[in-house]
């Protein structure tokens, strides 16, 4: 029988008239799908979170809504200064919703951690797809080069420190995405680790899987079929992603013990969420961490139109 641990919850289509929350947070950017959703959502309190990666001027900010601003580039500081400043005094049973569409992946991960540690154990996250995934050839979403590859706050784990033994059996598990530069940077950072890949298949749109293979090649990463290094999971579903990671993890561990495990979700935001759920459930206290190639600038608009909005109920108990 299949392990249903992660499938107890499932994504549902978000229907604006039906769902209501007490607190709603969304990261401001210029895309229609973020702004449109903010307007549709029904919540007692709604907040825009303004992050420095999008480089907004004070003059550009919406005047008719609550705005929480942070200048820090550390995801922990960013969330605590914004979302944390509102939620610290709030009843733990309050209904909370976060729109992850505009947040950076490390921020999404830290939000999970923050809510868990603060004992908000039931909340929702929503995500809006663009109407079309247009393949724009060489589009890069980051505007500046990667400044550093490091662990995501809250997901640092307890890595093995004894290096005087023989070559360590480190493993790097990458969520394969579209950005060759990001993938190459992470692979470079842990170039002595055995590299595993989680591919987004089914991908968000049929041609994206094949495109990602080309990007993967450009990043210099291998794609050998024989080596049991490749795993697959749906791109748009965090629960299925978490489930796939879980079974991949047990499989890897059965064949060979891992000295240090590094995870890096470089595909979609729902995928990153899935990584977070898996980590919080199974990897706390182990020599595992989530690492990410950080940049300081991102494009505010990378796709067109408004597609479906998904609601992901999260239960962290």
């Amino acid at each position: 029988m299949m392990d249903l641990t992660y499938l107890v919850d499932a994504k549902t289509l978000f229907i604006s008239d039906e769902d209501r929350w007490d607190y709603f947070f969304s990261a401001l950017n210029d895309s229609e799908r973020v702004r449109h959703t903010f307007n549709k959502v029904q919540s007692e309190n709604k907040y825009w979170v303004v992050i420095p990666e999008y480089q907004y001027d004070p003059a550009d900010l919406p005047r008719d809504a609550n705005v929480l601003r942070t200048e820090s580039f550390n995801e922990a500081d960013q969330i605590i200064e914004t979302i944390g400043s509102i939620l610290s005094a709030v009843d733990r049973a309050a209904r909370i919703c976060i729109d992850i569409t505009g947040f950076m992946r490390p921020q999404i991960l830290f939000i999970l951690k923050y809510l868990e540690v603060s004992e908000f154990l039931f909340f929702d996250m929503i995500y809006t797809e663009p109407r079309n995934y247009s393949r724009k050839g060489e589009t890069e979403f980051t505007l500046s080069d990667v400044t550093e590859v490091r662990q995501v706050s809250g997901f640092e784990g307890s890595h093995n420190l004894d290096m005087s033994k023989e070559m360590p059996k480190d493993v790097l598990f990458i969520g394969v995405g579209y950005d060759s530069n990001l993938m190459a940077r992470v692979a470079l950072d842990k170039d002595r680790a055995r590299q595993l890949q989680l591919h987004s298949l089914p991908s968000l749109s049929a041609d994206m899987y094949q495109e990602s293979l080309i990007r993967l090649d450009r990043a210099g990463l291998p794609n050998n079929s024989g080596d049991d290094q490749i795993f697959f999971s749906s791109a748009s579903d965090p629960y299925l992603t978490a489930s796939a990671l879980s079974s991949a993890h047990s499989r890897i561990f059965r064949t060979e013990p891992i000295s240090n495990l590094y995870l890096s979700p470089l595909a979609t935001k729902p995928q990153a969420l899935g990584f977070g759920l898996f980590y919080l459930k199974e990897l706390i206290g182990t020599p595992s961490s989530i690492i990410f190639p950080f940049s300081t600038k991102y494009s505010r608009e990378t796709s067109e139109g408004v597609g479906r909005t998904w609601r992901y109920p999260i239960c962290l108990s």
Partner: protein, 326 residues
Amino acid sequence: MEFEFSEANTAVADMLKKRITILNERAWEHKLNSDGINRWLENFTGKSGLPVETERLHALYLLSQFLYFGSREVRVLLKAVYTDLFLAPLVQLVRNNLNGTRDLSDINDELAKEIAVTRFLGVGNPSESGVHLLYYFRQENGLSKNQFADNAQLITRNPDTGERVLRNPEIKRYVFVDDVCGSGSTAVAYSEEFLRELQQLGTDIEIYYYCLFANSEGMEVVRKESAFGVNCGAVYEFDESYKSLDGASRFFKSIPAGIKIDYARAVAITYGSLLWPNHPLGYKNGQMLLGFTHNTPDNTLPIIWMGTDLNPTAPWIPAFKRYHKV
């Protein structure tokens, strides 16, 4: 590659060749090679009125955009049919029936019961590829043979009354698995022929149609006109941007210099008309650029898959062969 492009087109041709080389290694299971491509390009001899080199460059471009799902990928998609389309929603249904419980063992027990009264079937007769997929569907998902049924066995005759009755009345859910839903006509025809009766004989019975790939239009047809109704879905639904030569085509959104959609269209139509006069751009104007390890669907542009064994009157060497559902 033997065919030499002139200086003006060399850079683009090199780039396309490089892309195809990488795809061939990483996605296309080495189905093609330089030789194969050359022979395919030789099909194009200037009949559209464009210079031969332009025709070949555009044919090469179309080829470089081809979407191929190999054996490994198809297996993954079959798993997705089961897990993403069938199982995950069923878990929610079961939870609902148990008042929203989060207890895993309760859920598992109830789920097992539901699955026990479910049967998986193919669409079409046993030798068609849709049915054939069932074998791998079963393997990938670790299901027992008992979960599967044959269309012919759904309804039988009561030996005493002579009436047509359900062979297994305890089965409440029939899930049909297919590979491609193009226009939806297959699913509709199938449902008219077999499934209306099924639903009459067992009013509680739920029937589902899941496929790997579907055209949005086709899926709409299934929803509106077949017995499946809204109980259908595809792992991948293709919207109009997958019609490779229409204005909204995603394949021509960002193109290299020298490539024009009009030229590509001219090439595809000219030769397509010779190859399959009734459907020059693929069955019911499919205009697809899609193929998989076990076959190339006929919604795909005929210039990609037509061969002399399929159409003896127009000698043609395919890039990605098709085995016909005769």
